[in-house]
């Protein structure tokens, strides 16, 4: 390994350490379950209505059947995740069946993702439009309105869906912050709604008497013309083959388990013990969605009268359940408003998940050379893969307009992507039972051993059900089959053509890269592998047109004494986070250009820099983990275009707090393009004391040491006693008074010098994040005897 002061002298090529393990923050199985349920649970709002329109009044039994079957699909995902920690459809299918079928399966998955947005947005719009019409009608009936007004629900739903999609398009273009807190909060509110819904419905059913839907038998099935698809002229066939009818009905209910694939996406972030927590999350998800989706659909048929259920509430079934509870109208309307609010939260969240998921999957295939780098080029200002986001959102907006707010049409098409991505995944898992010889944490039971061959009975059975359903859906879902095949074929063709172009381009680029850079693979970031000394300076870069922070760091660092490491955090979206990337994928065209510029800047100062690429899901977490692993004394970042320096320090401090020990403190410098610098200390540190405080301690010390028995007292003893008494008072009755005094002091400070606290053009931090949790701005003058003067970029 070359020493830092003698960088790669054996070769003219610059050595770059590429870490391939993504830096993650781990979450509990409850949070993982909440993330998946935000997607899976949202189908409860529309699956029942769609299924009943297709197959008649016995639909709830089929929805319950599908939700029970989803328990087995989850088992398949658990097995795939136990083999590859990053086991999504693309990875698993590629491993088992090769690139072509992997591209085909991703095309089906993209169809699923792209339709998730429109169906969720339109469904949320239907709930809102239904509520507005209900309120308008109630107002008219009670004489508050002179005329009866009703909004066209489908068009209101279209406008709403377009608005929500455009909102999330902008948020994703800016780079939305993903948070499991938000998912957990939404699920907590949803749980309140589900408990009220089930409890109130139970009371209503006891009062009015319960009538179960017709049993799921062939003679009880009432298929609509659309529900028979290409067989609509041969309805007699369906009656002739009894079980076939059941299979058709099952196929029309399968979209109730859409969202299960999110389990593979969150797997990577699940905390230790991973497999156990994955199983826990999967079981919680399965039980919750069985109760919510299955229960809501069942209650819809049991509570809402036949004449209005489809006519009025087909697209907002849960709202209908709220309106047909026992009790006063005002209370029922209030509950309906609550249902609409929960529906809005969940379904809008699903619109966002669809954009994030599609972006992640397309980024992943783009990184694998299946889409050209053109798609992945980052936004100049926000650094997001905006071209992919534009493509996905463009397709979603087109779908919303074409659907004209028809949830049934969208649901029919949606099922195509859902069933085929599940089928590809289970087929691949079946093949891998014989092909894959690596470690496997768990297997779907039961498995029979005949001779030396293990027969995967359970896995095979799940695959057979999925395959049979997918094949029948091809015949009975004409809209889904035609649109799904066209969509998948177009995407598949794009993938094929892009891959061909990329191969030619990459061969040339690889040759160029090999002439200039020497990639060194490292599973994790370690100081030794980067070849630097402790106390180094970590410079984070992203935009090759904005390397002012690197220039500043080089100007202020003597690289003979202190190493400079230039780090790029390669951000991975939700969908791509489930996969491990190869070194060449992480170090792409963009990183090559970025590092070429960085090296030119360093050469212009005649100083050496070490280069590092780190894949990450969260940039703040990646920075603090890297700084900790490299034992960096300082981190130098550029001023963000999206947030103030205070906010940057806040997020970095929060990530530092979330990091598991052992952890080191460091100094964080934020350099703006005009060259001004703001400095913060991250982690606990000796506070910078004002000179009057130091004098106060000294005066007290002088006074106390005159007393007998206290002659040998230290200054620190006074500080210790003061702090101990402060902590005691704060924990006791004086807490409010202390807080009031501190608040007054803070107000006085802000009132006296607001301009000094915030430079022009920098907005104050958000009210919820007044300052970094573990880092405060270091701007007050240091007393000469408090600390030795620090080198320009190092902390204490």
């Amino acid at each position: 390994m070359p020493s830092p002061s003698q960088p790669a002298q054996q070769s003219n090529r610059v050595r770059i350490v590429v870490a391939t393990s993504v830096m993650l923050t781990f979450i509990s199985f409850w949070r993982a379950a909440a993330i998946v349920l935000n997607d899976l649970g949202s189908s409860a709002f529309y699956a029942g209505g769609i299924a009943e329109q297709a197959i008649g009044k016995s639909a709830p039994w089929f929805i319950l059947g599908v939700m029970l079957f989803s328990f087995t699909v989850r088992a398949v995902y658990v097995e795939s995740c136990s083999m590859f920690v990053r086991g999504g459809v693309y990875r698993v299918v590629k491993e088992a069946l090769g690139g072509t079928l992997a591209k085909l399966s991703v095309s089906a998955l993209m169809f699923d993702y792209i339709l998730t947005g429109p169906i969720s947005g339109v469904s949320a719009g239907q709930y809102i439009a239904g509520l507005i019409n209900e309120l308008l009608f109630t107002g008219f009936r009670h004489g508050f309105l002179p005329v009866k007004i009703a909004l066209p629900e489908n068009w209101v739903a279209v406008v709403f869906a377009l608005g929500v999609t455009l909102y999330y398009w902008w948020e994703n273009t800016k780079g939305i912050e993903e948070s499991s807190d938000k998912a957990l909060r939404v699920m907590q509110i949803t749980t309140v709604m589900v408990v009220v819904l089930l409890g109130w419905s139970a009371v209503t059913l006891i009062a009015r008497g319960a009538h179960l839907p017709p049993w799921p038998l062939p003679e009880n099935l009432r298929f609509s013309a659309e529900a028979l698809g290409f067989l609509h002229n041969r309805g007699d066939l369906v009656k002739m083959f009894g079980l076939f009818g059941i299979l058709i009905a099952f196929g029309h209910s399968v979209l109730a388990m859409s969202g299960e694939e999110s389990l593979a996406q969150v797997n990577r972030e699940i905390a230790h013990p991973k497999l156990k927590n994955l199983k826990r999350a999967a079981l919680v998800i399965a039980i919750y969605s069985f109760v919510f989706t299955g229960g809501a659909t069942m209650l819809g048929v049991m509570l809402i009268p036949d004449d209005v259920r489809i006519a009025v509430y087909k697209d907002n079934l849960i709202a209908g359940i709220a309106m047909y509870q026992a009790g006063p109208l005002a209370l029922r309307i209030l509950f309906r408003i609550f249902v609409v609010v929960v529906g809005f939260l969940m379904l809008s969240g699903a619109v966002n998940t669809a954009i994030i998921g599609s972006n992640g999957v397309l980024n992943r295939v783009s990184e694998d050379g299946v889409l050209t780098d053109w798609f992945r080029r980052p936004h100049r200002k926000y650094g997001t893969s905006y071209r992919i986001i534009n493509l996905v959102v463009g397709l979603q907006l087109f779908t919303i307009l074409v659907s004209r707010g028809d949830v049934y049409l969208l649901g029919e098409a949606y099922a195509f992507g859902v069933i085929w991505s599940f089928t590809f995944n289970s087929l691949a898992m079946l093949v891998l039972r014989f092909k894959y010889k690596g470690p496997r944490g768990w297997k779907v039971p039961p498995n029979l051993t005949i001779g030396h061959v293990e027969v995967p009975v359970g896995l095979g059975s799940v695959f057979l059900v999925l395959l049979a359903t997918a094949l029948v859906n091809l015949l009975t879902k004409s809209v889904a089959t035609i649109s799904g095949i066209i969509f998948s074929a177009v995407f598949f063709a794009i993938f094929l053509a892009s891959e061909k172009i990329n191969r030619r381009k990459h061969a040339h680029a690889e040759q160029q890269m090999q002439e200039h850079f020497q990639l060194q693979h490292a599973e994790t970031v370690e100081r030794e592998s980067v070849g630097i000394r402790p106390g180094n300076v970590l410079v984070t870069v992203r935009d090759y047109n904005a390397l002012h922070n690197l220039r500043w760091a080089l100007e202020h660092t003597n690289t003979t004494d202190q190493d400079v490491v230039v780090m790029v955090a390669r951000l991975l979206g939700t969908g791509s986070g489930e996969y491990d990337l190869s070194m060449e994928q992480i170090f792409s065209d963009y990183e090559q250009t970025l590092f070429t510029r960085a090296v030119s800047v360093a050469e212009s100062y005649g100083k050496h820099v070490s280069l590092l690429v780190v894949p990450a899901r969260d940039v703040w977490s990646a920075i603090v983990q890297t700084a900790n692993a490299l034992q960096s004394a300082a981190v130098v970042a550029g001023q963000s275009t999206k947030m103030s320096a205070e906010e940057q320090a806040f997020y970095l401090g929060r990530a530092w707090e979330a990091m598991s020990p052992p952890k080191r403190q460091f100094v964080f410098h934020v350099v703006s393009p005009d060259g001004s610098v703001k400095t913060y200390r991250i982690g606990p540190h000796t506070p910078t004391m004002k000179s009057e405080d130091v004098h106060l301690v000294h005066r007290l010390w002088l006074d106390l040491t005159r007393l007998r028995g206290l002659e040998k007292m230290h200054h620190s003893d006074i500080v210790t006693l003061a702090l101990t008494r402060f902590a005691r008072d704060y924990a006791g009755r004086d807490r409010d008074e202390i807080l009031r005094t501190l608040q007054m002091e803070e107000d006085r400070r802000r009132g006296l010098a607001p301009a000094a606290a915030l430079p022009d053009g920098i907005s104050p931090p958000p009210p919820t994040s007044p300052r970094p949790p573990a880092g405060d701005e270091d701007k007050s003058p240091k007393p000469a005897d408090a600390e030795p003067p620090s080198p320009p970029l190092t902390g204490p």
Partner: protein, 55 residues
């Protein structure tokens, strides 16, 4: 001819579905019991399980 072909297709698909459903019912029972035990079981402290053990 087309009708007979369709009839054969239906029979095959029905058989696949039926066999699959029976097997899936087994998967459902076995995995739910197993996962429920995992759900209610308490984890060993990290030191005992080994900090590096991911699976």
């Amino acid at each position: 001819m087309l009708f007979h072909l369709f009839q054969a297709f239906v029979k095959v698909v029905e058989a696949l579905f039926l066999i699959g459903l029976i097997g899936s019912a087994l998967v459902l029972v076995l995995t739910t019991v197993e996962d429920f035990e995992v759900l209610i079981a308490r984890d060993a402290p990290a030191g005992e399980a080994g900090l590096s053990a991911e699976v």
